[in-house]
Subunit: 334 residues, 4 copies
């Protein structure tokens, strides 16, 4: 950490601060230029809240040099984390596709989609049992009944399942029944949820919040790992910008940036990331080309029921064609 | 709601859709121009998820006309909501200031600040017992011990207290002990928390999320009111933009926009909204001039301990001077 | 266009407005629901400024239905525009790569890079003669001398050249000497420049502004085409968001969105779009996978001179490897 | 400037770089911690482009410490700049209001509004002769005829005039005829325009670009002052964010931030900053309370012609009432 001092800082005040910092265990070095005067702090500053220094009279601004995360960082864990779940691997060159309906609606719907996406090569079944909805009046998901349907689909297809956990009320059920616990974008900084899910030591897929930086995503993952989780996947699903032609702006450059900073696998969600099914294929392929370790994609099977599903779901047929192209791009990238 | 149809939509398909919509209970009207063709839907569309219409082949885009909220809207509740708590009123011309430390640290600290801000005219004591922290390694607040200190400060000063609730674990304690439950920005769309807090039917201060629109803030308040809450306050505390000179961009135009759309009181937080104590005074005064119903401000009393507090807290002296100016601006605005 | 009327709008006022609109040449239709009342306007509304309607007392809000652009839109020009320049084709399945140094520095530098990128398969030489710089004290480019060097490089390699025009002062020189005129991001809404460049009827590459929507990019291209230009290319080069890990957020979903809305070719700039050379390869490949018609990439040849060039330039060797992968992804996508 | 070195940087490479930097005239200091290693550069780094250092192999990241501007900064010019134009003063405690129509339309219109705003206490007449319009098909202003009308209004009322210059074509006319040259938001980084306008040495009002940081605004002003201008005013007029309830997000915290960093006067435009006339009054008052040195406000006089003007203009009556309240807030703030 570096403290930039004010131009008019007096020598005694600087000395006093320097002593205080040394008592806190830091090695302090002065850097003095014609127009600037700084104190460089060496030692472990990762537990320091830079805001603490903001009220010091003689400090103009503060720069943090070392990364605020440890367990998720590549610095002390250079090799890729490879996650194994029910025979499927993710990360370190292993690619995984999680596919299924936005919401679990019925046994018939879920089984049909699950069999279709398995036939096309998907590795996991995704499906929402509890749904975060902007309106209190909208359908909030089948709840625990939805979880039962997901278990049944797993039994029939052999594919592990991923579903979103929205609060601490169903920790036990998700620990027992779900293969990957999904933390949604709106809960990325629900720190008490992160802490408790971390303690389950289960695989977790953590979605980036709509207004969260890559560093904040890594800090949220640090909460999970500090709690005890090891198998954490990070998911880019679009951030909020001024552009309105897409529902969100899918930030694909987060994929190579994350690969540089962390050893954890990076998954991309082109369905929520764009909001329109006709943008899912180009952005899914782009995500693979950018180096993603996996995709999570919404697939729905009811073209005859126009009002049943969201505008971002693929039909099983379109998904099938997409999977073929994904395989070919994977070969080019490898 | 209006459905804009694709240029090449066939008459039979339009008729089929029109019939489906009428069966759903809507009154459907066609609007036809040279280059555009639309269906206007009248009837109650507030429970409709516009995404449902997004997959219909012949629909190009959808426009929602009526507001998606009811209980929070001015449409059916034109007069201002006035909230009364422990003899203090907020809204409908009644102005309230909530002041205190960011985190509750000790009996001595809290009491000293509480007495100071009361003497300066504050109406409520604010203080964090549970703190949402970006890093799992940072101080997370005194927890229930902090609540006890707040209760003690209330007893000694007579001022009601406000504190942040971060999850469902302490609903009972907050219901019993706290006068206003604060929902933090990161939990604005923690829908299960909103639902459960709403059922307590206690006063709530709901902070706007860092990347949430004004409409989403109103929908989150709708969750609280749909749960049973009546005394809901909305709090503008800065949104996330590309600007880095301030910690957030305080969106003061949200104040008059909210006053137009809702009957609920609007509070402004210039401390978190700017992140720097020297910006708190100008932005607090600006908020009052813009018509805010109240302010929530961080005050700290330890100028001698440079490392104790954040860069956005005022000293009791600066707060005292600010309160005087606030009173005068209130007179101009009234 | 649809005018949403206020709830309390009186019948006479509505009739009066309706008559006014009909006198302006519109076909007006009323749509009336339980809670909403609208006027639908049919006829050519593309020249209407929706702000004009904003002061009408009885109007609550306005929705524009038809697109505000004509010449750039796919509606009236469904087939892809294919641009031919010096034997190189762009668009309609033809892929082009523009490569070269950020700034033209010397004959030796430019020729060496030009020969390298040609050998790797680039189709155009890019190089800045006039540089938009945030600081008035920074190097502003070689100016007309830089143009002369670019012409020389074209002569020696046979590759057409692209360079940025910053104002109306050098219209004549750019018309005569440059093959593609680049309009930079900061000039995307410099409407007088757009108008005059359009009149040259030369190929133009128009970069998206840092805070401009896709619709605004299309309207800027409409200026060029309304002036007389036909061979216009649109360039996604990153938008400004809250994320700081990359210099800009490269919005690759703009590629398929633009392909849907316009017949013009879409080029991606992964160098400025990310700001870091190690992100250029993954994002270049992602852009190709997303369906881009071309790339514009910075290449520099001075690894021994660490202080000569920006952090986003590739070495010729890295560029060469990238070009091979691009070719393979193109095959998968085709 | 501080160069953060990579963990694995070798001693010889660090020494080599350190020597290079010393040859460039810097004083170089090493700062070494357990996990970090930095080089601190002292000396004049204001002309350095930090990107130059980005390709150095052993450098991980760079931090700039001193401000990149000089002429506009308070550091070397601590007292407020006071601008005098035609007997009106702005800055250093002098408040000015610029009012008038968005576009100059006719002699009758302009004169009527000019007399009204003068009677209410405005200090300058604003009016657009050249209008930047998103669509090439929209009305682009009366051009030089509009300037003539503004001159006439100045003659009849005695108030100096301000109007927007969009390109270098009319430099001579604006130098001769206009009292304050306005540079619009879309031209804030039109560096050749800034350079040429600076050389006129006339008063300039520089609007902040829609996606420009406060530092970039200051750098654009630095262009004007480096060219020779002295009387430069900075104007906050709203930035682009995800919020859609207002046309832009008026960033009022820019007012105190600018006052801290620069000696130049700060003007606020609540008309463009919000986009709706009913938000102009609260935000104008808020701007005054935040410490603005002036306001620029759209006023229009044709309530009977509903389709003549934009949704953000005040009637002369509303403007008159606003001016009274502004005066009272000014008294509280002083």
């Amino acid at each position: 950490m570096i403290l930039i001092l004010k131009q008019d800082a007096k020598t005694e005040a600087i000395d006093k601060l320097s002593n205080q910092l040394q008592e806190m265990g830091f090695i302090v070095q002065e850097i003095k230029g014609e127009h600037t005067h700084m104190l460089g702090l060496a030692g472990d500053t990762s537990h320091i809240d830079r805001d603490q220094f903001g009220r010091i009279d003689i400090v103009d601004s503060i720069m943090k040099v070392s990364e605020p995360y440890k367990l998720v960082g590549r610095k002390f864990h250079p090799e890729d984390t490879v996650i194994e779940i029910g025979g499927q691997k993710i990360g370190g060159g292993n690619f995984a596709v999680m596919a299924g309906p936005c919401s679990v609606e019925s046994e018939e719907q879920l089984l049909s989609i699950a069999r279709d996406v398995k036939a096309s090569g998907a590795n996991f079944i995704r499906g929402g049992a509890f749904k975060p909805r902007t309106s209190p009046y909208a359908f909030q998901g089948l709840g625990l009944d939805g979880l039962e349907l997901l278990k049944m689909a797993r039994q029939k297809t052999g594919l592990p399942i991923i579903s979103e956990l929205m609060n601490n009320d169903y920790l036990e059920e998700f620990e027992r029944d779900v293969d990957i616990i999904q933390i949604g974008a709106r809960n990325m900084q629900n720190f008490s949820l992160l802490r408790e899910v971390g303690q389950l030591k289960k695989p977790v897929l953590l979605k980036r919040g709509l207004a969260n930086t890559i560093e904040e995503l890594l800090m949220a993952a640090e909460y999970l790992m500090a709690g005890g989780a090891r198998d954490v996947m990070l998911c880019e699903r679009g951030i909020r910008t001024f552009e309105t032609a897409t529902r969100n702006t899918l930030d694909l450059s987060a994929v190579p940036v994350l690969h540089q900073k962390t050893h954890l696998p990076v998954i991309v969600d082109p369905s929520h990331g764009t909001g329109y099914w006709h943008l899912v294929e180009p952005m899914a392929l782009a995500a693979v080309a950018a180096g993603a370790d996996g995709l999570i994609i919404e697939v729905h099977n009811a073209p005859e029921c126009a009002l049943c599903d969201g505008p971002q779901s693929l039909t099983p047929e379109v998904f099938h064609q997409l999977m073929k192209k994904i395989g070919k791009i994977r070969e080019v990238i490898a």
